[in-house]
Symmetry: C2
Subunit: 529 residues, 2 copies
Amino acid sequence: MEFIISIDRTDDRPLQLQLYEIIRQMILSGKLRAGERLPSSRGVAEQLGIARITVTLAYERLLSEGYVASKPKAGTFVNERLPDASVLVRNAHSETISPGARIRLGKIPSFAGRSPELWKDRSQRPKYDFFVGRPNPRSFPTQFWQRSIARHLAYARGAMTEYGDPRGLHALREAIADHLRATRGIDATPDQIVITAGIQGALNLLARVFLTGTQQSTVAVENPSYQGAAFLFSSYGARIHPIQVDENGLDVAQLENFVGNLIYVTPSHQFPTGYTLSLDRRLRLLDWAYRTGSYIIEDDYDSDFRYDGPPLIALAGLDRKDQVIYLGTFSKSIGAGIRIGYLVVPHHLVEQARIVKALLDNCAPWLEQAVIADFIKEGAFLRHLRRIRRSYMSARDALIEEINEHFPGSTLSGVECGMHMMWKIPDSLPTPEELQRRALTCGVGLYPLFSAAAFEYGHASRFRDRSIILGYAALSEDEIREAIRRVSDEFKTRQTSRPDPSPLRKTRRVEAPTKSKTSESRSNPRSTR
Amino acid sequence: MEFIISIDRTDDRPLQLQLYEIIRQMILSGKLRAGERLPSSRGVAEQLGIARITVTLAYERLLSEGYVASKPKAGTFVNERLPDASVLVRNAHSETISPGARIRLGKIPSFAGRSPELWKDRSQRPKYDFFVGRPNPRSFPTQFWQRSIARHLAYARGAMTEYGDPRGLHALREAIADHLRATRGIDATPDQIVITAGIQGALNLLARVFLTGTQQSTVAVENPSYQGAAFLFSSYGARIHPIQVDENGLDVAQLENFVGNLIYVTPSHQFPTGYTLSLDRRLRLLDWAYRTGSYIIEDDYDSDFRYDGPPLIALAGLDRKDQVIYLGTFSKSIGAGIRIGYLVVPHHLVEQARIVKALLDNCAPWLEQAVIADFIKEGAFLRHLRRIRRSYMSARDALIEEINEHFPGSTLSGVECGMHMMWKIPDSLPTPEELQRRALTCGVGLYPLFSAAAFEYGHASRFRDRSIILGYAALSEDEIREAIRRVSDEFKTRQTSRPDPSPLRKTRRVEAPTKSKTSESRSNPRSTR
């Protein structure tokens, strides 16, 4: 048998892969017939000047895929029964294939949406990172997770192998209904709750319900707004109608010019400005919805953390005409890596929500739904919230203090609750982008609106030109103090053009208020002075 | 202070909730002013003739929400600082709300898609259930899951609290790339792989990429087809172009009349017929895609289980022009409850896929991705597949044997691989729906096409009028034998009109082939004879 193989040295794919493909093609095209013996791996290796292991690996793959069979002491033979009997008849198409050549496809898909900037490669992160939307990893309830998972896995195999209710685990929906009643003034039955892959999953469900008709829709969003919502609606072909935000939240009066029937809002802690929608405006917003027959999507992503004053009533808690759809998530209170959120829909939308959810992904994964249900029902969730609220409040207080001390002329908004605040930077600082760049050189991650998953519509900037969004929940008090001082030093050094910043630095550091917290001395980077 | 409360006895909401709302409204509307004392819970209970605990609970909720404050030994007072200072100014809207009244919304969302029938409430399931698409719960790798989860949770808190790469965990994408190279002849880099919420999640991603443009699209699907795909494409407004399936799979010749650029196929084990697309037709299908510049979506949902003959090459393994998108899942090989699948996209679609995935749900949950990556990399997945393949093959063999013995004239298709087969029922049996109904009366779940997540387009039925889809993977050999005999007895009894079927039953049971398997005597329902 003649067996001539030539390997293309310009092809940068692994040799074993090329060899495997060449032989496979020879078999498929009938050049190598059933029963024929392949040359020894040693022979092929010598002929081609390649390592024998390369040939062996290619042969092993052909073997595992059923193209060849190995007979002890006799060698490797093309299989009598190939993957398909018709293989030897037709092979014209495979013959014409030249790897690397690529035709232009007649109709390249036209999707051109933008992605929200929520993911950052952790290995590339600066040491002190104020990126938004992340709870403190040190607060993750690992022990509860370990115990609860072990307990559930021990008995619930069917739950792991079967599809679940598209709306999610009933026990979890029950627990959420109880939690919302107690903490947010929302009276919902478990039937109205659908478990989703975070708030993003919930937004998709709603986009499918509201935006996949034949007519183009218009959606009102806050300006500035959350990218994950605004970019999503755009990607469904909806027109975006931005509505200004001021210190009382969405400027509801502007809705009079809006002709659509759907609005997306973050009333508890507007993203990204941090402003809270006043009760007055909440009532006006509901009134607008009732008058125009519209729906309000209320994204309540971080209302679990309120530091000053009593909690506000959710729009969904005020609504008495079933026109508010409420979105909640465990991404901020437990962790974004578990990807569990939920929405509360009015009764008349329950059936549509169930169908859309089934079409989206059948249902949410079972195991961590069961864990969170336990976490809530056993009271551990509320204890967890109290614990981390305290730690986030310390972080917040430290951040406010340091910003005010080191950057006079700053304005901070959205400090009453949540996990981030907006910093209107003083005139002494350069643009947010330049600030970001220079902070990064001293290991600090500061994010202007766009890179903090926010978006401001329009040419005139009211926020983006002078704002930094500071997510502080994932940092300790000490880390925050160190980070802000580093940035402060960076600018003082440069501004005074002194190559050796030590005298100034020392002065400022000695002046810094002394904390009595015992934990500080352990990890405080200043303890070396 | 006058304090008159009247409870609406026709309102079927809990009394504590009604009471809470009434008092909240009184505060919001200024009828109860800051600093005013609420009557004692005992007094209200007596006044209204309700239990005191009901009043206490309502008060506690008002307390927890900041409407009232409790002073020791003095009572409960309306808070000086209410949730919002503007509360006392405007309240007209809340006043007009009458619970129960519901206006007609101007624009009720028009979503009207159909949901795939994959979820069945487990508590309602018949004892012997041939529902499709479920692995055997007894085979779930519980111990591996326990160990791997404990290991990962111990160190990886940041992974639980942060958003991940929208494409999924790199380690898992690497493991899948290796697995596909070894078992399916697909050469993909981890970059081309996107982890999704099962195949349904992958289909949504593709629907967003291909079907959200302004023009109406047409998608070709097999006929009969998988509901999860066909109904999904329809729900995005796409026209469906059904293409007949015969014993060699999709009738590729019919594609000449198709004007679209996207086709969805299940070549390894056509759903629901079980037919395998011949290699000849695979090559013709690729040729069609190359000539017309089209994309092929290859859904390879259950190719892990092949009982007869060597594995076939995936279309994605044959494709050399980057026009096949490959979908795989762990729902069949590990469990649907983990909701992890993936797609392999050509390089030129990677960026669009990443954006769409971020917009869909940011990323997949982290923990079980990490577990599956270990499961594959440590070789445990291949061992698991070998183990369950053996057990599914026994189940399959038992099912074939029983059907052939008890229902002569039957035709079974799709038995070579996968987890289900299609049963063309003999003329002696009634319609599939009637068969389903009567099987249910003896504890056996048999599913005609539609209730087995399949759909046949067109008025003329080629399959649906005489077919039952038998998912056998979740049942043991003994359960299968018992189930088919029960159904057989049900029809023999009725047909012979004998009220006491025992003589016939006994005869048949004695005639049944004796199995030497030791496990049988333990759980065999026949051991009582």
